[in-house]
């Protein structure tokens, strides 16, 4: 198994390099650059040329690439072109906000999805099942930013229960922190919950129809033990896959939700930097998000082995 993990980790780093290189070249192949947008209409062509030279943007592409990559390897992620702040600092400030929202969204999503999926499967074609299914479809159909705007209007503007913009760090108190991430967390968590609910339900239905479950019934195993000990454990395998992969949904959703709630997380940092052609910030943020995806998938694969001991990799025997 260790050999497998090492191999997969190697693959992961290769993918990361590929992402980094693609983003580097892709960003610069689009017409336009950051300088005119930074200096505005007032700047003379000479001032534009001077700033381009200062930023090293007049160098050949391979020179810029080698410089950026070698500096990145030693932990120097460069400076934001527009504000001159260190990219590492910007990302370090933004990441906790996104991770707070994402973590809240995942916890909330799983807390809703797993019971809803179980209810849907065990009460198949009953009122509870229909309610869970309709709820899931609505959740899948509504993008996170739309949910966010609705939540902000109802719970922020009308009821005044939660702030509609801004983020309070946990260092300023757990309750203010939770209040500030509650609405964005729900906004990304609900679509996530919807996807996981559907998978939980169908997987559990399939498992409950397995022959070994009928055997358990014949042996007189109680329905509770049948469900939680035998069926659920097996049904969770595809759910874990989906739950992991759908983290992409959380991170994707966080981009728009952070904009809606005025929170400078990784998503908003990325969007701003792309619009401003802030190359160093865009590159590192995409690399970080890609890293989260790649290593999340790796963790999901590894998690299989914990959930189902029959699963082994790399030709190793159980």
């Amino acid at each position: 198994m260790w050999r497998y993990i090492a191999k997969r980790t190697g693959h992961a780093f290769f993918v990361m390099w590929l992402v980094a290189t693609t983003v580097f070249v892709g960003l610069r192949s689009v017409p336009g650059g950051p300088v005119r947008a930074m200096l505005g209409q007032e700047a003379t062509p000479e001032a534009v040329a001077r700033l381009r030279a200062e930023l090293g943007l007049d160098q050949p592409l391979y020179v810029q690439y080698v410089e950026w990559f070698s500096e990145m390897l030693v932990g120097d992620f460069g400076q934001s072109i527009t504000s001159s702040e260190s990219v590492g600092g910007l990302i370090a400030a933004a990441a906790p906000r996104t991770l707070s929202i994402a973590a809240f969204g995942v916890v909330l999503g799983l807390a809703v999805a797993i019971p809803a999926g179980i209810i849907g499967a065990t009460k198949r074609n009953q009122l509870q099942d229909y309610a869970a299914t309709i709820g899931a479809f609505i959740g899948i159909s509504m993008p996170a930013f739309f949910v966010g705007i609705l939540l902000a209007i109802v719970f922020g503007v009308q009821l005044g229960w939660f702030p509609v913009v801004g983020y309070t760090p946990i260092s300023e108190g757990v309750v203010p922190w939770l209040r500030s991430i509650f609405l964005p967390g729900v906004a990304v968590g609900l679509p996530y919950a919807a996807g996981v609910t559907r998978m939980m339900r169908s997987s559990l239905i399939e498992t409950l129809d397995e022959q070994y479950m009928r055997t358990a019934v014949a042996k007189g195993v109680s329905s509770r033990i049948r469900l939680y000990k035998h069926a659920l454990q097996n049904a969770l395998i595809p759910v874990v896959t989906i739950a992991g992969i759908q983290l992409a949904l959380i991170l994707g959703g966080s981009v728009t939700v952070e904009i809606v709630f005025g929170i400078q997380g990784l998503g908003r940092l990325l969007v701003n930097s792309i619009l401003e052609r802030n190359y160093p910030v865009t590159q590192m943020t995409i690399l970080l998000i890609a890293g989260i995806f790649v290593f999340m998938n790796l963790l999901v694969d590894i998690a299989y082995t914990a959930i189902d001991p029959r699963i082994r990799y790399g030709g190793e025997q159980a």
Partner: protein
């Protein structure tokens, strides 16, 4: 020296330029919108200026007879993704400067009743027909780091802007060389500024906002913290100091206790303890935040979301007429826009009133000229009819030019989609085959500048001096027309622009500007469309906000208990 020169010099001597002259200067400098904001007026030069400075609740934003409470922190939202630059000469985004004007001071400022007053300058004298200004500076001013302000800081600020070719250097392009008398320090608190020729608008350009030609920076702070850090946490002499700035997340301004200004009762300004600014780029979010009370002030309200405010008793709009112009820029290097008949034909098939409704939700003034209504002194209703809406005439012109049904595109960035859509709709209805090329801002500016576009909706956004705007847009590209990205070339306009720049007689200058505008309307390098309103959001607990178009000064803002 002519009698006119003497009259001009006397009129603009310090320490206070009277209201009438200020209005003239503002008009001459294209800042008449500011004048218009005062409302009422003296019936003279300021023009009506629309409903500026008036909240929907009818308050005028000034303290009036209301009791002023000091203290408290204002929660403000800024309708942008981030505030990247606060270093004055490097600011190229109006929203950034709106904030920076609360951190810095200029040599002059616009007072609450709109006369030009000394800011860091206590008094000044004028010579050489308006080409030389000698300023006596205040001796009681300190920077936020405690350093004393002196005339050397003025020289340093101007020298730095020019030598570093910062964007604001364009405002100093007609200054004499600094080491050749352009800036002469005459003592700790005296400095002389010399322009190459009489410069009627220089006092306005020397205001902390919207001037920026000499908004005073701290050499000591720049050298100590480095230019990069100064860019985000600068040190000035204004009423608020930057005590925190997390780019994209928040800017924290605290009242500077040693700020040199007091109100008329001798109370120390600013009234607020501080301002917490959050960038909020999503249109509905900034309106929601204003309605919920998360923010008490929104620097801009997105037009498409204004109806969300509805009948909200607490959250109000505060409108001032915009000092800007927008038009459909047509790239003359591409067919059919090289043909004047074709351009005029296009201008005539566009219904500006309808464009205002669809693109701006009615929050703009439809106009077929380049000079905005705020510049009352030079504004006129009766313009030449060459760009008036007349679809049949337009089609005839297009037919003559062989441009009927032409295919072309409108280049638009993310902020200009609605205008582009509204324009496409009208042009397609007129028989054209028009597409929209939607690109990011960075791509947009590069392509616009390099002439890689057919048409785009563009104009002068926040620095609306008719002279400077016209100069930059319509001088020949290599001789001052740095924004002449439609590639318009007309020797007469080129020469007239130079002539009016040196003209100190107001009425003569007005006639020259009208002549230029007449030619532009006839030549149609742009199909002129609108002047957009300037709309801020203010909650009812906020008092003392005096809305000058394009500016957001918090010097006298207070919070009602």
């Amino acid at each position: 020296m002519s009698p006119d020169d003497n009259e001009f010099e006397n009129a603009v001597e310090g320490p206070v330029v009277d209201r009438r002259t200020t209005l003239s200067l503002l008009s001459a400098a294209g800042l008449g919108g500011l004048a218009g904001c005062a409302g009422g007026g003296d019936g003279g030069d300021g023009g009506d200026g629309g409903d500026g400075g008036q909240g929907e609740d009818g308050s005028d934003g000034s303290s009036g007879s209301q009791e002023i409470s000091t203290g408290g922190r204002l929660q403000a939202g800024w309708f942008t993704g981030s505030i990247d630059t606060l270093d004055p000469p490097y600011i190229s985004v109006g929203q950034y400067f709106q904030l920076a004007a609360n951190v810095f001071s200029g040599l002059t400022k616009l007072g609450p009743d709109l006369q030009i007053e000394g800011d860091l300058a206590e008094d000044w004298s004028v010579a050489d027909g308006g080409a030389t200004f000698t300023f006596t500076l205040r001796d009681d001013v300190t920077f936020h780091n405690g350093a004393e302000f002196s005339a050397d800081d003025v020289e340093y600020t101007i020298r730095r802007t020019i030598e570093e070719e910062a964007p604001a250097a364009s405002k100093l392009s007609s200054l004499q060389p600094i080491d050749d008398g352009g800036v002469e320090v005459g003592g700790d608190y005296e400095v002389t500024i010399r322009w190459e020729q009489p410069n009627v608008t220089s006092l306005v350009y020397l205001t902390r906002g919207p001037g920026r030609a000499a908004t005073i920076v701290s050499q000591e702070a720049i050298e100590e913290m480095g230019a990069d850090q100064y860019n985000v946490t600068p040190v000035g002499t204004g009423p608020f100091e930057v005590t925190g700035h997390e780019v994209g997340n928040s800017v924290t301004l605290d009242a500077y206790d040693d700020y040199f200004e007091t109100d008329e009762n001798g109370t120390q300004l600013p009234y607020l303890d501080g301002i917490d600014v959050q960038p909020i780029p999503e249109p509905s979010s900034i309106v929601n935040a204003l309605r919920s009370g998360d923010i008490q002030f929104a620097n801009l309200l997105p037009l498409q979301n204004l109806d969300q405010l509805g009948n909200d008793a607490e959250a109000n709009t505060d409108v001032a007429p915009g000092i800007n112009w927008y038009g459909l820029a047509m790239n003359e290097e591409r067919e059919p826009f090289g043909d004047r008949q074709a351009r005029r034909g296009i201008a005539k098939v566009i219904d500006n009133e309808r464009f205002v409704e669809t693109a701006y939700f009615g929050n703009a003034l439809a106009d077929t000229g380049v000079i905005n209504r705020g510049t009352g002194w030079v504004w006129r209703e009766d313009k030449p009819s060459d760009q008036d809406y007349a679809p049949e005439e337009g089609q005839e012109l297009l037919e003559e030019a062989g441009a009927t049904g032409a295919s072309f595109s409108i280049l638009a960035n993310e902020g200009g989609t609605r205008e582009a859509e509204a324009m496409r709709q009208q042009l397609n209805e007129a028989g054209f085959d028009v597409d929209i090329e939607q690109v990011t801002s960075s791509t947009y500016w590069t392509r616009y500048e390099e002439g890689d576009y057919d048409t785009t909706v563009a104009g002068s956004i926040i620095d609306p001096d008719p002279e400077q705007s016209l100069w930059n847009f319509y001088r020949l590209p290599d001789e001052g027309g740095v924004w002449n990205w439609v590639r318009y070339e007309n020797e007469d306009v080129h020469e007239l622009l130079a002539e009016q720049r040196a003209e100190t007689d107001r009425e003569a200058r007005r006639d020259l500007l009208w002549e230029i505008e007449d030619t532009l309307i006839a030549d149609a390098p742009h199909a002129y469309l609108v002047h957009q309103d300037d709309i801020a959001g203010v909650r009812s607990e906020v008092g003392g906000f005096n809305h000058l178009s394009g500016l957001r000064n918090f010097h006298t803002v207070y919070l009602n208990e």
